[in-house]
């Protein structure tokens, strides 16, 4: 800041004459004048309008098919079956048929959705052990107390992965079959990998270091979660690298949803072969569901969602509409302000003079 004056003589105690101490720092003092505020409002309205229109157009190009299969098709049997906990071990498959009237072009994403499932309860969210999931041996055998009561099974073996989140993993599986207008039914190929966050797959979830041991050996001495049919190292029978804590489905599930109604990615259409190179053609489809996940306890619903995407997601009409509404409101306010300024404004008048 300013320079310190020589301290001597009768003015020895005089405060420094620095801009800081004398509160005279150079400063910019903006003021809300009509010259700045009104153009700003119009500009904002315009920008919002343009964004809104653009987003709306973008959203229009997407397609989405939602299918609540909780009791649909033949699933009502399974639905009834799952009401009884004692049947949990029994498998149940069912089929739902649905048409696609207009082909879904481009990448098609397959989601499963749950309604009224609260992944965002505080105790639920806390009920996990990230130390265990990142492969720490101590945590593997000795899970955090946050996992209570899913820490140990009735035999006293530590559960891996522990906690309520892992325990309640969504374990329905789907196979989608295309019934073309001509020709045989073709199973729709779904890519079941690469559906997680990069950091989750590569940083956050790690299997314990195995030192040439198999996964099964590594997880020896741990128990599978109570509701699971398979241990964690056998989640994907097809791909041994997709087992353990780094299983994609597990990782997707472990990323808790913020709201009780959510959808999670199940797979992406593999467009390598005909007739799916351009997406899902129109026609009839069936989904074979291995119906394991009970929802009637919490009055939930299950659904599958097939959608094409824009750069900002699926058929998300809220965003463009919100932008359009906002822009209209801003415009309205701007006009009102202009009128008020023109008719009654005091500063405005003065500035005219």
């Amino acid at each position: 800041m300013g320079k310190v004056k020589g301290k001597s003589g009768p003015l020895a105690r005089r405060p420094d004459n620095s801009a800081f101490k004398q509160q005279r720092l150079p400063a910019w003092s903006p003021m809300l004048t009509a010259n700045t505020v009104l153009p700003f409002f119009y500009l904002m309205a315009l920008i919002c309008m343009l964004l809104g229109v653009w987003l709306l157009l973008t959203v229009q190009s997407t397609q989405e098919i939602k299918l609540d299969y909780t009791e649909a098709g033949t699933c009502d049997i399974c639905f009834e079956k799952r009401k009884n906990v004692s049947n949990a071990a029994q498998t149940c498959t069912c089929t739902v048929v649905f048409p696609i009237k207009k082909a879904l072009k481009g990448d098609v994403f397959f989601y499963y959705g749950l309604q009224n499932f609260h992944q965002n309860l505080r105790r639920y969210m806390d009920s996990r052990d990230d130390g265990q999931m990142v492969g720490r041996k101590t945590n593997l055998k000795n899970p955090s107390s946050y996992c209570e009561p899913f820490t140990k099974n009735q035999n006293g073996l530590p559960i891996a992965p522990c906690g309520a989140v892992a325990n309640s993993i969504f374990n329905d599986s789907f196979t989608l079959t295309y019934h073309g207008s001509s020709g045989p039914s073709i199973r729709v190929p779904l890519l079941r990998k690469g559906i997680t966050w990069y950091t989750d797959k590569n940083v956050k979830y790690r299997n314990p270091k195995n030192d040439n041991m198999t996964l099964a050996q590594v997880f020896e001495g741990t128990a599978q979660p109570l509701y699971w049919q398979k241990p964690v190292y056998e989640l994907d029978p097809l791909d041994p690298t997709n087992n353990g804590f780094i299983n994609d489905d597990l990782i997707v599930w472990m990323r808790e949803a913020a709201f009780p109604n959510f959808k999670k990615l199940y797979g992406v259409l593999y467009r390598a072969s005909q007739p799916f190179t351009k997406g899902l053609p129109a026609g009839n489809y069936t989904i074979n569901i291995s119906y394991n996940f009970p929802v009637q306890y919490f009055q939930g619903r299950k659904e599958v969602v097939l959608t094409t995407l824009t750069w900002f997601g699926g058929q998300n009409h809220f965003l463009p509409v919100a932008y359009l509404v906002t822009s209209c409101l801003i415009l309205l306010i701007a006009i009102l302000l202009t009128v008020a300024w023109w008719k009654f404004g005091k500063n405005g008048k003065r500035m005219e003079e």
Binding site: P10, N116, L121, G131, A258, F259, N261, V268, F312, L337
Partner: protein, 1370 residues
């Protein structure tokens, strides 16, 4: 001798139990078993004996901690604060796992931060206290130990020691005076630090001991003192000295108290009676009770409300939790069973309540209090650093001694000011005199250059070089040998009670009891009549270089009833002469009838002097024949010896001889105003601050000062004087004043002309007369109409009083007015007045008046004073300001702010106070806003997460939000913000009003902030919620996961509150930029760091947000969300603010706007502001000149002089004439007498400059007396104001013609009226305070010299410029 000030015990309501406790503590083991002392026994030179009693040592300790005790004691103290305990409680809650919704560190980090900041502050404070204690304790004093003097530190002085004091040394402890170097065991002390009185006091030792004299004898002195225990009564001491089997009574007259300074005494010896904490000084220096600002109180209320709100939200959410757990949660149990202790939904709801209390506690931000303290500290530093409040003469910067009151400075409505030393410099200067009908004094020429100061040295080698006088005609007259002039100065050199001290030949020092007397004797000294020395029977002077010794026959001393003093001397030739000086009121009545004509002229002069606020004295002499003297001397002796009614008989005897005197002339002494006082008062009253002067001075003096500092002006509608002696009379006078006010304002509102007429006829000073009449007791029966029980008029009526009134109330009337049943009446009357002067008030009354206003007006009061008599007032007002002037440091020590010039007050209030208030209000508004916006999001989220007390944000964000992400920008705003530049707030004092009306932060503003905060939280929650629940990454991964949502919401929040602070900040300095941008940057940096892989790998369970920031913030949709939410949050605010500025601009907006538009000629605003004021001014304009009666004052000390001491030679006694029964009975009758006389003489005497000056008392003259008188005195007309401009022009031209050398700056173009007016105006005032002022700003002058701006406003060339042109022609 000096009458000890009549200080009521209640004056020091201060002895704090805490303080006592502390002292006990520091005395360690000794005092642990200390019982209450009932009497004190001290034996001189016997330490062993005295140690038995374990009296306190002379070591004082005001510090609270030492290194060991600091931490526990400080923590204990801090946890006594409710807020801190609350957060401790939260911390404990968080340790319960079932409840803990947040990690423990979210509370402990801010709490630790807050505690440590406070601790550091306390430690620094205590360090400085240690330092000052050490400094005092290590002062050296000479102690008589085993017969020899040894240097000891103060702290080692013990009770019972004999110590030696030298001239100008501070007294180290409360001492019993044993002997002194002066004859008769006398010694002089100055008690300024103790009670604020700067005049000297005399103390005398018990005569037997004083004979002991030198150290050797004293060493064997073994007297024992038995006296009262330590107490805080400064004016009382009773004890007994036992020595050589005899008893001697000891009084306060024998005591030297700690804090006094020895003066005029080479050395003295004293016996330590009370030491250290037992001394009266320390007993009186209790801590000021802790002052809180109104914002503080409001803040506490609001915090309580927020607590209530918090509990409500907690209850709502808990109920929600109960319902949810019953309806949904119970079904969800297979996935998430209840925690073991929870077995039903009610218990779960109970736990959820506490969890939500923890989460939502951020609505009561822990950092609020500490931030407020930091801001106030910053403001205090700005006050300390302000160069414009630095007084270079006394090398004193302003000091904010309390750092907690700054914003209150922006809300002051009432200022209570002391007079002496505060408004005035307490320096008396001989200014003018009238000798034999001719007036001398400095020529106050508004246009000419400053006259040269007279140099007396060639004429008189004994002259005092500091004496200033400008009129050389007087010196000429002395040199020529004019007999009257010689007699005049001879009188001044003889008739006084001043003591002289002549260290070396020619180096004279006068020790006067009152500064007035000193000024007069010094004047005589410089004009060749040098008072050299006196003995009980003689006075030696040097008259015109010739030494003369007069025999002093008698001193007829001053007292408050006589209001005069005389000496009777016999000159070397043997002629006896009586010289008398006294108040004109009494003196003029005792003149020989042949003086009639001279008396008329002289009283004219007296009027003029008084009109200038000078203190006047009339001088007269009487030649006595030997027979007359013998006869009188006999009767005097009789009276003197009379056993009963001695005082009365003496007075009668004096009265007898002081008759038929010949008038010599009159003196005028200027009680110099401090620099810039009138401007300051004008500016402050423009800022709608009411100024009350509370002074111990007499009514006349106080009124005079009131006029000279422009508190009272001649265009005031009416000045009421309340001086009744009984309850009824006071009540009547008050009632009458109110009626007049209502009448006048009604007529004035109805028809202005008539209103003026009405005010015209009535002279405020008549009121006094009537009051005195009723005071006599006869009148109240005659007029029972305003019955004592009549309720005061409805206050709204009194509130709407228009017009300018002033009230002068006397101490004895005030005593009645302050009684419980009359105080409302008094308050309503006094508050309707623009100016209130209370004179002859005791310190206790000062405090009572302040308390009264605090009680009835709910207004912020400020008391300013410099002496110990102001301490009570300073302590009881909301803000106490001490003037660090000449009267010791008691006031400063008790004050919250101190500086050395009254005029700094305007800067303190209008600049610093206003800014502080503004900043604090903006800070609080924003602070509550940002915390509500932050916290309420959790509330909305509660409805979606099953009321499970899940937070929206990451716990680190919650921890750091208040202390890192958002604290610095708001602190920067709270410390540096300015709405208008400092010059503007002085220019437009009206800018101060929002503070007084409490407009910027009140409950309404608070609710607006809260509403805005809640609105923001709604937007912050629902917009991301709606957008993200359907959005996905481009890879198809949904964005509706919790971590993305948390990051998005947090980022939006930080951005929204940053934009909001940017909107709130009106003054963007570099620091603001750095802080705002820095905070944003810091937010992103810290977030990326916390979400980094490194931290996750170390603590996977603590940092499970790994990667969230990187991935989330790469999503365009997240940024679209942030932008949308920000726009929705900010646009309404922006629109609302714009509308407010545009449709209902505050003055500050307008000023700012004009500033922005760079309209240098601040016309529009200046007119609107000044216009309102001028409107009032011009209404009362017609009443100029109505102020016919003259104000007079007379210069004397308020106590009797040293007269008796001088004549008696040795024996001193205290004649305790109560000051309070002084009555100003004579105040007006003589004026009327004079006026009658004057009107009988049709002509007015020609004045010195040859102009015809209208008699000031003529009611019909429309010239304001102020300018009139100064025109007469200065020999130059002031800038005129009357409607008759032609006449003025003639006058002006005459003047300029008479003094062609005094041309104004000739190059000033006529169009620049303001530029011309400014120096003119300032110089025109030079007559009142030759010290000159700093030229202040245009509006100030408009305010001060309203009549001048009228010329400007009328767009006609002002008289000064015309005059100037004329001069150029000539």
């Amino acid at each position: 001798m000096t009458v000890p000030k009549d200080i009521p015990d209640k004056w020091f309501p201060i002895v704090l139990p805490l303080k006592r406790k502390k002292q006990k503590g520091l005395n360690g083991a000794k005092s642990t078993k200390k019982r209450t002392e009932e009497e004190r026994r001290v034996r001189a030179n016997d330490r062993e004996y005295n140690e038995k009693f374990q009296y306190a040592s002379n070591c004082i300790m005001t510090s609270k901690y030492n290194i060991v005790t600091f931490l526990p004691v400080n923590l204990f103290e801090q946890f006594q604060e409710v807020a801190n305990t609350y957060f401790l409680f939260l911390l404990i809650l968080q340790l319960i796992p079932q409840i803990s919704s947040l990690s423990w560190f979210t509370t402990i980090v801010p709490l630790a931060l807050v505690l440590s900041i406070t601790a550091v502050k306390d430690a620094t404070d205590d360090y400085f206290r240690h330092k000052s204690d050490n400094q005092v304790n290590n002062r050296q004093s000479q102690v008589l130990i085993r017969g020899s003097l040894q240097n000891e530190k103060w702290m080692n002085v013990r009770v019972g020691d004999i110590i030696k004091l030298e001239n100008n040394q501070f007294v180290a402890a409360d001492l019993l005076l044993l002997s002194s170097s002066e004859p008769h065991g006398l010694c002089y002390i100055e008690t300024a630090e103790l009670d604020g009185e700067s005049n000297m006091k005399v103390r005398q030792s018990v005569s037997v001991i004083s004979a002991l004299g030198d150290p050797n004898n004293l060493a064997s002195f073994d007297g024992e003192v038995v006296c009262e225990p330590p107490n805080n009564k400064l004016d009382r001491f009773c004890g007994t000295l036992y020595w050589r089997d005899k008893k001697y009574t000891l009084t306060n007259q024998n005591m030297l108290l700690r804090g006094c300074v020895l003066r005029n005494t080479e050395a003295c010896y004293g016996l330590v009676i009370f030491a250290g904490p037992d001394t009266k000084l320390m007993q009186n220096s209790g801590r000021t009770k802790f002052k809180r600002t109104s914002i503080d109180r409001l803040m506490n209320t609001l915090v309580l409300w927020i607590f209530g709100f918090l509990v409500c939200m907690g209850v709502i959410l808990a109920v929600g939790n109960a319902v949810w757990e019953r309806e949904v949660g119970s079904l969800f149990q297979s996935y998430l069973p209840w925690d073991p202790p929870v077995d039903n939904f009610l218990f779960s709801a109970f736990l959820s309540f506490w969890s939500y209390v923890i989460i939502l506690n951020t609505v009561v931000p822990i950092s609020l209090y500490v931030s407020v303290e930091v801001i106030r500290l910053g403001h205090s530093y700005f006050i300390n650093w302000d160069q414009q409040m630095f007084c270079s003469q006394c090398n004193t910067p302003a000091e904010a001694r309390t750092t907690t009151l700054n914003e209150e400075l922006g809300q002051v409505e009432y200022i209570f000011s002391d007079k002496t030393g505060t408004l005035t410099q307490n320096i008396m200067s001989f200014n003018k005199c009238s000798i034999n009908g001719k007036t001398y004094g400095e020529g106050t020429d508004p246009l000419g250059p400053q006259p040269k100061r007279l140099d007396f040295t060639p004429f008189n080698p004994l002259a005092d070089p500091n004496f200033c006088f400008y009129d050389d005609t007087l010196l000429e007259s002395v040199k020529v040998g004019d007999t009257h002039t010689h007699k005049f100065f001879r009188l001044l050199s003889l008739c006084h009670t001043v003591m002289s001290e002549e260290k070396r030949e020619g180096e004279l020092f006068y020790k006067a009891q009152s500064p007035d007397e000193g000024a007069l004797v010094t004047a005589a000294r410089n004009f060749g009549f040098v008072f050299r020395s006196r003995t009980p029977g003689t006075i030696t002077t040097t008259e015109m270089g010739r030494p003369v010794t007069y025999t002093l026959l008698a001193i007829l001393d001053f007292n408050n009833i006589r209001k005069r003093m005389s000496v009777i001397v016999r000159n070397p030739e043997g002629r006896i002469c009586l010289y008398c000086k006294g108040a004109d009121t009494v003196l003029l009545e005792r003149l020989h009838p042949c003086n009639q004509e001279l008396m008329n002229i002289t009283s004219d002069h007296l009027n003029e002097y008084a009109a200038d606020g000078l203190r006047t004295l009339a001088l007269a002499y009487r030649d006595l024949s030997e027979d007359e003297w013998e006869a009188w001397s006999e009767s005097h002796r009789c009276a003197d010896k009379a056993a009963s009614c001695r005082e009365d008989r003496l007075a009668a005897a004096y009265e007898q001889i002081e008759q038929d005197m010949m008038l010599l002339g009159a003196t005028a002494i200027e009680d110099k105003l401090q620099e810039g006082v009138p401007e300051t008062i004008a500016v402050l009253s423009l800022a709608n601050i009411k100024i009350w002067v509370l002074t111990g001075d007499k009514q006349e003096t106080a009124v005079n000062i009131g006029y000279s500092c422009k508190m009272l002006t001649d265009d005031m509608t009416e000045v009421f004087i309340i001086s009744g002696h009984t309850v009824q009379s006071v009540r009547q006078e008050l009632g009458r004043a109110r009626e007049r006010m209502i009448d006048l304002s009604r007529t004035r509102d109805g028809e202005k002309e008539e209103g003026m007429e009405g005010g015209f006829m009535e002279n405020g000073f008549k009121e006094a007369q009537e009051g005195d009449g009723t005071g006599g007791g006869g009148k109240q029966l005659q007029c029972p109409s305003p019955s004592p029980s009549a309720p005061p008029p409805p206050s709204n009526l009194m509130d709407n009083i228009s017009g300018e009134f002033a009230l002068v109330i006397n101490g004895h009337s005030l005593a009645h007015a302050l009684e419980a049943d009359m105080e409302t009446e008094f308050v309503s009357t006094a508050c309707a007045c623009k100016a209130v002067i209370c004179c002859r008030v005791t310190p206790l009354q000062k405090a009572q008046v302040v308390e009264l206003i605090k009680k009835h007006k709910k207004a912020v009061t400020l008391a300013i004073g410099d002496g110990a008599n102001d301490v009570s007032m300073i302590k009881s007002a909301h803000i106490g300001v001490g003037i660090s002037g000449q009267e010791g440091i008691q006031a400063v020590l008790a004050s919250d702010y101190s500086f050395s010039q009254f005029r700094f007050l305007q800067r303190l209030l209008l600049v610093h106070g206003r800014w502080s208030y503004l900043r604090m209000c903006r800070f609080l508004c924003y602070f509550f806003y940002k915390n509500f916006a932050f916290t309420m999001v959790h509330f909305w989220f509660g409805f979606f997460c099953g009321f499970s007390a899940q937070t929206v944000y990451d716990q680190y964000f919650i921890t750091l939000y208040n202390i890192v992400y958002t604290s610095l920008p708001v602190l920067a705003m709270g410390i540096f913000d300015q709405d208008v530049p400092e010059q503007r707030s002085l220019e437009y004092p009206k800018l101060y009003e929002p503070g007084q009306l409490n407009l910027l932060f009140n409950k309404r503003e608070f609710f607006i902030c809260i509403a805005q905060g809640i609105y923001t939280s709604v937007v912050l929650f629902f917009v991301p919620c709606a957008i993200l629940s359907n959005a996905t990454q481009s890879t198809g991964v949904p964005l509706a996961d919790y971590q993305t949502f948390a990051v998005t919401t947090a980022t939006t929040l930080v951005i929204v509150v940053s934009v909001q602070i940017a909107l709130d900040t009106g003054f963007w300095t570099v620091i603001n930029h750095v802080f705002v941008w820095g905070s944003l940057g810091l937010y992103f940096t810290i977030m990326f760091a916390l979400h980094s892989q490194t931290l996750f790998k170390i603590f996977p369970n603590q940092f499970h947000f790994v990667g969230s920031a990187q991935i989330t913030l790469l999503q365009p949709v997240v940024w679209l969300t942030i932008a949308l939410a920000t726009a929705i949050c900010i646009v309404p605010v922006l629109a609302f603010r714009f509308l407010k500025v545009d449709l209902k601009p505050q003055l500050s907006d307008t000023v700012r706007h004009t500033q922005l538009v760079r309209q240098k000629k601040r016309k529009p605003v200046g007119r609107s502001v000044g216009g309102a004021w001028r409107g009032v001014g011009s209404v009362s304009e017609g009443r100029l000149g109505a102020r016919g009666s003259r104000r007079s004052g007379y210069a004397f000390a308020h106590q009797e002089g040293f007269g008796e001491l001088i004549t008696s030679g040795k024996n001193m006694r205290l004649s305790s004439l109560a000051l309070a029964n002084f009555a100003s009975r004579h105040s007006s009758s003589w004026i009327d007498t004079l006026r009658r006389k004057k009107n009988s003489h049709a002509h007015t005497p020609p004045s010195a400059s040859g102009e015809s000056s209208p008699a000031p008392s003529c009611v019909s003259v429309s010239v304001p007396p102020l300018s009139n008188s100064s025109s007469v005195l200065g020999g130059t007309p002031d800038i005129p104001i009357e409607e008759d401009r032609g006449a003025t022009l003639v006058q002006n031209t005459q003047t300029v013609a008479a003094s062609p050398t005094q041309t104004p700056p000739a190059s000033a173009p006529a169009s620049e009226e303001a530029a011309v007016l400014t120096p003119a105006a300032v110089r025109a005032h030079g007559g009142d305070s030759p010290g000159g002022w700093t030229v202040t700003l245009g509006t100030v002058q408009e305010a001060l010299f309203g009549w001048k701006t009228r010329t400007t406003a009328s767009n006609s060339p002002g008289p000064p410029s015309v005059a100037k042109e004329t001069s150029q022609i000539e």
